[in-house]
Symmetry: C2
């Protein structure tokens, strides 16, 4: 007899090993945090003696489910805003609420709540992507679950960082600090190609490659993303991220809804894992990922719930079932993704996609004891047929529900016994969550009237670079500027002549944001109007920094095409006051010291001002880049014959 700590017996054991062994009357021996033996109950009983034996009452033991992509703390935003257009949902609700509420405490509570829900539904391991990821990791470890925890990096400012450089530094610290944890695999998550810059992607790939961490990213979630990529880069997203060296890292690519066969092969050749999120992709109107093709090619495709803000729960049973039936429905082939394949995706393939396939995802000797016990005998699963060896997979995938999970173990430790959570106090978590919900409700009710939200509700809104470097100066002789622009230190990329009619709307809001309605008349060589363009820009309050005469601004700017009349917008936004500015503007896009700047030569017409103004501007997503430009821009101003520091700083609308 060999000795083990624990014997689970009188169970059907669905191993999900390479041979798909199922022991209808089976048992598992566990020593410490590992599986010591799996097999027929009689065989195990005759070979193993254990300190404790648990009779599973004929229930079914499956490997713990792997939720291959989620944003656990967003559990606190579950059902916050549903059935909305993607831009309204994201820009109007998710991002403002995240900016206001996401904190270490929020992430801790949201993660504990998510873990409670996931444990109850048989999940033992998940891949997370959020902010303050160290706090997500800490809460996950406290709950006793296994996770790949990915610190998000974005080109925007985020709830946990004022610049992406800060996020990257935080990700590095997190990865190095947590790399040897038994439950947590720290990781970096450049959020998506369209929310990052090539520099961010490269830096993240480098960090991940250097540390061996997983690089977790959203890829080709919507058709729009791919269309934009094809337009801008002449290629879809996967080959483009390859050029940013992404595949030097162990990539976990979430969504991949709109990838073609070439991209699927490229992902396979790169050894990437994929997380399929069918509910989220349906609910947000993104579409259905080509998972049948991915599996055919041999990709490790796991299944994820995505965050509960777009699902609205963390139920892997629903997700696995949907994976199986959706593949059939869209292909017209009822044999596509049979139940056994779907369960593979939810277990071993997901584990491999997360790069933890060597320690979890199947019930095999030597692997960690990560498992769930499921009751396959409730009324909604009755009767059960036995003839077909695949029937047990069909019962798990097509009829079993999250509520049928009775016990869950991770690393040999019980996290749930007889439907009772052992590591978490759900009542306390729910109470604290209710408090957040109340505060978020109150915040949104107040914000519901905000100009930005109203702008977003109109649609078509995009966010602009968060850092703006600018310098402005009154000048006497515009001809000197024109002459200087032809000098050898500069090259002109583009030159335009506009007449700009701006109307600024001001609001009685605590944030002091403003909305600009701008009509640009493009002026031709003979002074004729060649084109007209109208745009709305929402300008948030700015954090200001001064650099020897130049000004560095960090602020949110949202821009949208203006298809309606000024009168429409006045009635729609109901500003507390407004002010008009009209100017003649000559604009050059120049390159100075390998850096692009806009040079504006302005003449104010309304309200009238004597003389000319020169304004030099540049925008960027990078704080470091902004710092560098803040120095260059003053040199450039001097070069163009104006006096730095002797000018004016504010926007025309604030003083003219």
């Amino acid at each position: 007899m060999t000795h083990a700590d624990l014997l689970l017996t009188n169970a059907a054991v669905v191993t999900m090993n390479a041979a798909f062994d199922v022991f209808k009357s089976g048992a598992i021996a566990i020593s410490g945090n590992r599986i010591a033996a799996v097999g027929p109950a009689e065989e195990i009983a005759s070979e193993w003696a254990a300190k404790e034996t648990v009779d599973c009452g004929g229930r079914t033991i499956i490997p713990g489910l792997v939720n291959a992509h989620t944003h656990a703390p967003m559990t606190l935003l579950r059902g916050l805003a549903d059935d909305l257009r993607l831009d309204v949902w994201l820009l109007g609700y998710m991002m403002p609420v995240e900016r206001e509420f996401v904190s270490p405490d929020f992430c801790r509570l949201g993660t504990l709540l998510a873990c409670a829900e996931m444990i109850r539904s048989g999940v033992t391991c998940f891949a997370d992507m959020y902010y303050f990821e160290e706090h997500v990791a800490r809460a996950t470890a406290e709950a006793g679950m296994r996770a790949v925890c990915s610190q998000t990096v974005l080109k925007f400012t985020t709830p946990d960082a004022d610049s992406y450089e800060d996020s990257l530094a935080a990700a590095r610290d997190f990865i190095l600090g947590w790399k040897d944890h038994p439950l947590i695999r720290p990781s970096v998550a450049p959020h998506a190609p369209y929310t990052c810059t090539p520099e961010i992607l490269k830096a993240c790939a480098e960090l991940a490659a250097e540390t061996g961490a997983v690089l977790h990213i959203h890829i080709s979630e919507t058709a729009t993303e791919v269309e934009n990529w094809r337009k801008q880069y002449g290629m879809p997203v996967v080959p483009w991220v390859k050029r940013q060296n992404l595949f030097e890292a162990n990539v976990l690519a979430a969504h991949c809804v709109h990838v073609d066969e070439g991209e699927i092969r490229q992902l396979y050749n790169a050894g990437a894992g994929v997380a399929h999120n069918p509910t989220s992709n349906l609910k947000l109107g993104s579409g259905v990922a080509p998972v049948v093709k991915m599996l055919e090619v041999g990709l490790n495709v796991g299944i994820g719930t995505d965050g509960p803000a777009s699902n609205n729960d963390l139920d892997m049973f629903e997700e696995t079932r949907l994976t199986a039936i959706l593949a059939k429905g869209v292909s017209g082939d009822p044999t596509a993704i049979p139940a056994r394949s779907a369960l593979s995706m939810a277990t071993i393939l997901g584990a491999r996609a997360l790069r933890v396939g060597d320690i979890t995802g199947s019930l095999e000797v030597g692997k960690r004891a990560d498992l769930a016990i499921v009751d396959l005998d409730p009324i909604h699963s009755s009767p059960k047929f036995e003839r077909d060896p695949n029937a047990v997979y069909s019962q798990i995938v097509y009829t079993a529900k999250a509520a049928d999970v009775t016990d869950v173990m991770v690393e040999g430790r019980w996290l749930m016994r007889g439907r009772e959570l052992k590591t978490l106090a759900p009542d306390d978590l729910q109470l604290a969550a209710r408090d957040y919900a109340r505060r978020i409700d109150a915040f949104l009710i107040e914000r519901e009237q905000s100009a930005l939200n109203k702008l977003i509700a109109i649609g078509g809104v995009g966010q602009e670079e968060s850092f703006e470097v600018q310098v402005k100066s009154r000048i006497a002789d515009p001809e000197k500027v024109r002459a200087a622009l032809t000098g050898p230190e500069l090259s002109t990329v583009r030159h335009v002549h506009y007449r700009e009619f701006d109307t600024y709307f001001f609001f009685d809001e605590p944030e002091r944001s403003r909305l600009r309605y701008r009509e640009d008349e493009f002026i031709g060589e003979k002074g004729e109007v060649t084109n007209v363009r109208a745009r709305l820009t929402h300008i948030g309050p700015a954090k200001e920094g001064e650099y020897g005469g130049s000004v560095l601004l960090s602020r949110s700017r949202f821009i949208a095409p203006a298809g309606h009349s000024l009168r429409f917008y006045r009635e729609y936004f109901k500003p507390a006051s407004e002010r008009a500015i009209e100017k003649d503007r000559l604009r050059w896009l120049v390159v100075y010291q390998n850096t692009e700047f806009f040079v504006n030569l302005d003449q104010l017409i309304r309200p009238p001002q004597d003389g000319y103004f020169i304004e030099i501007k540049s925008r960027t997503w990078s704080k470091r880049d902004a710092d560098a430009k803040a120095t260059l821009i003053v040199e450039l101003l001097t070069l163009l014959g104006a006096e730095p520091g002797g000018g004016v700083k504010d926007e025309y609308v604030d003083w003219a």
Copy 2:
């Protein structure tokens, strides 16, 4: 104070009335089987006194869900055969098992089990379509549920009828016998256009119109059905069934996956109700019904689970959620079918589709007290936001699960209290169901080797008419026959000359079925072979009847194109013995007394036989039609100069 029998208080009440009233702190007064009052709890408390008051503990009361299309007894076939091609699933598993096992007892037990599952998941009313429907009705009434029970009529023989005439008669008796039942609405179900004849559809429509019963039918479930219809009739299914007078009845059309906009308008104009079955349509690879368009046009579209053999459960929460997210995913519009619309479909629209919208489907004064109480506070629904008035619908549709239903009432009677069933004993039902499952497993294991199942596994199999009338006679002079065929009583539609090479496979099966591999060489005017065709026909044992020299056979015949060689089929089917028949055949399709008959003039080549044989045949789905033809066929034989009764009856292979 007004008096009521029961007051449900301290509940959120989601009425689903026309104004979509929600009483966050609400109450309902119930008198007898009806709702006496609905409103804010304080208002109800001040106006109503009741014998009994139930504190709902802050839970949410919703109208009982309406399962708009199912086959309740098929609960006993849940998970019997999954992930298979439709023809293999239907012809290889469902139909043979139904032929063998479906009985009044099967229907009663399956319905009780289905009711137990449906009550537990908040369903109070459903539309059923099956055999022995009176037994379904009886079991449903015993469980206390409301249902539209539809007796199936098919052109094939069914478990409860040897001919469709018998089914129709049974449907009439059932409707007349049950028409005044408080819970049951008896109804007739011509199964589908492709499994019925125009005569059956017309007769069913007439019966339904005459009795006011609902006509329940499958319409345009698969693309193949619609393609076949366009090919055969030059129009899709809906306009064709209209020509069969279908819309003279109150139609409940299940599936409608492949209907175009014109058909949707036609359904609307006909006042038809539609049952959307998203899980079944995905799982069987049928596609996704255009429900957004249907709702736009104003159709009453309910949601159904379909039978548990293709779902594999009766969970209306899953179905409603899938309806909401699937519409978004396939349209790319995340605002499609918001949660409130989805819940409307699962309640009031479903009730209207079933023609019970006047008495159930919403919580309104005067309607029957059909309701479910749902706990919206488990961990997987936490936290809840209150700001958005639609949040409660989002909580019910996107996060609530069947297991969150705690109490269910139909007609003022509790069917479940505190998750405990009041009218059914689930343990007994499960025990009896297990017994059926064991017997069905054993039956299929034995059948797994049957020739018919192996034929079906190859694919492309279709079923032929079940009644065959035939007469055969040896004749001396073939020229007499040829001459008679040009006579005035007959007209020839078509004439062909074949050389037929048949190989019959015989099996050691108790059923004595046989498989024929036939190669037809089509012979041209100059004796040349113009075409070759190979087919497999599985011929079941026949029930025989004699009509003065002619023979009426009733048997199953399945036909499939034979794409492989005889050697392949010999090795694949492994027959116990085989026999070859070769003949020269002249065939005429003639019309005699407005009836089509095939006339064969045969010369046996292998084994050689002297002289000629005349054979006259006709096939039909109708027993009455077969009886009529049995008389005509003998007249025709005489007309062609042969001796009735003086000939041979059996197939050549049985004696030659």
